[in-house]
Symmetry: C2
Subunit: 202 residues, 2 copies
C-alpha cells in the first residue's frame, strides 16, 4: 500500500518494544508529515548511541565512558554493592532513593536453556570486585523469578566464597497493596518470610 521506503520505515519502527503495525504506521506518518527534523535527530542519536555506548568497566551499566558516573562518584558508599539484572533496575532503585552504594549489572540472568552462563553475566568481574574491594555487604536484587532466584543463589555462593556478607532484598506484599488483589505466590512468600513484631531479646 505505502511506497517501499515508507514500508521499510514502518518495518524498522516495529523493532521497538510494544510497537505493533498500527503504531509503527502512525509513527512513520507522523515523522514524515509533521516532524522530519525529529526523525533526522532520532536517526543521528540512534547511530551515535549504538556506536559509542558500551559497558562500564566496573559495573557493566550502559555508558559511553570507560567508568560510569555512578562508579566514579566518590560519595557513593564503597561498602555496599547491589547486583541487578538490567540497567533499568538501577534506575528504579535510584529513583527510590534510599540506597547509596554501588551497583553491578548482570545484563540478564542464568538461563542454561538459552545458553546463558556465568561468563555472560560478567561473574568473573564480580568475583574480582569481591576479592579486591573493601565490601561489607553484597545485596542481591535480581528479579523474584525462577531464573532470578537461581542467579541470586549462584551469586550468594560466590560472595560466601570470598567471605563477603550477602543479602537478598525482601519480597512480599507491595506497600500500599491490598491483600485482596495480591497473587497467591506472593502471599505465600509473604507468610513464609514473615518477621517477628518484637524480635526476641538476645
Amino acid at each position: 500500500m505505502f511506497s517501499p521506503l515508507i514500508e521499510e520505515l514502518i518495518r524498522a519502527l516495529r523493532c521497538l518494544p510494544s510497537v505493533g503495525p498500527k503504531s509503527a504506521q502512525r509513527m512513520a506518518m507522523y515523522l514524515l508529515e509533521k516532524d522530519p527534523d525529529a526523525a533526522v535527530l532520532l536517526a543521528r542519536s540512534l547511530t551515535q548511541a549504538v556506536e559509542k555506548v558500551g559497558r562500564c568497566n566496573q559495573c557493566r551499566i550502559l555508558t559511553e565512558e570507560v567508568v560510569c558516573a555512578l562508579c566514579n562518584n566518590s560519595r557513593r558508599e564503597q561498602a555496599f554493592l547491589c547486583v541487578v539484572e538490567t540497567p533499568a533496575d538501577v534506575l528504579a532503585i535510584e529513583q527510590a532513593g534510599n540506597y547509596h552504594g554501588r551497583y553491578f549489572v548482570l545484563h540478564g540472568h542464568l538461563s542454561p536453556i538459552d545458553g546463558i552462563g556465568p561468563e555472560d553475566l560478567g561473574i568473573s568481574l564480580l568475583e574480582q570486585r569481591l576479592a579486591n574491594e573493601p565490601l561489607q555487604e553484597l545485596i542481591v536484587a535480581t528479579n523474584p523469578t525462577v531464573e532470578g532466584e537461581a542467579t541470586a543463589h549462584y551469586i550468594a555462593e560466590c560472595a560466601r566464597a570470598h567471605g563477603v556478607a550477602v543479602s537478598r532484598i525482601a519480597h512480599g506484599v507491595p506497600i500500599g497493596g491490598e491483600l485482596e488483589y495480591i497473587d497467591g505466590g506472593t502471599l505465600a512468600h509473604a507468610f513464609h518470610s514473615r518477621t517477628a513484631f518484637f524480635p526476641a531479646a538476645e
Copy 2:
C-alpha cells in the same frame, strides 16, 4: 542518571507519538542492550525516508516516486476522486476495500486560526484535476469535525464551479455499534440524515 548519549537517545525517542518518558527509556534500553542492529537499521531507514519521501505529483500522498503507485495504477477508476485529510485515511479506505477510484490528500484541513489556508492543502492542484480530468464524481471524505466540515464545504464549492458532481461520505451510527453507547451528536446527525426505507417511485 543515564550517560549523556543515552539521555539524548531517550529524548529523541520521545518525539514519537504516544511515547512517554518510561516507554522511551524502555525502548532505548532495549535497542542498546538487545538489538543494536535494529537500531542501526532504524536510523538508516529514518534518514533515507526523510531524504527521499516527498509527495505524489498528482494526489499528494507520501511517496518517494514522482507519481505514486495508486495514481499510476491504470485499473483504478478514473471517474472517481476521493479527497481525504491524511495518508492514513487513504490506507483505512483501501483496507475497507470497496472504493476503486483515486485519491487526493490534503495533508490537513482548513484552519484559519493556525494559518492553514487553501494553498497549504494543495487546492490549486485539486482544481487543476477538476478542470482537466474526466471526473464523474468527487467524494469528500474529510473528518466529521468542525474544520473537516468547513474544508468539505470549501471543496464542494470548487467542484461545483468546475461542474463536477460532489458527494460527502455518510456519517451516523457505525455498523455493529449499539445505540446505547453512541454519543448524542452522532445520534442527532443519524436522525437528521435518515434515509427513506422505500424511496418514493419517481
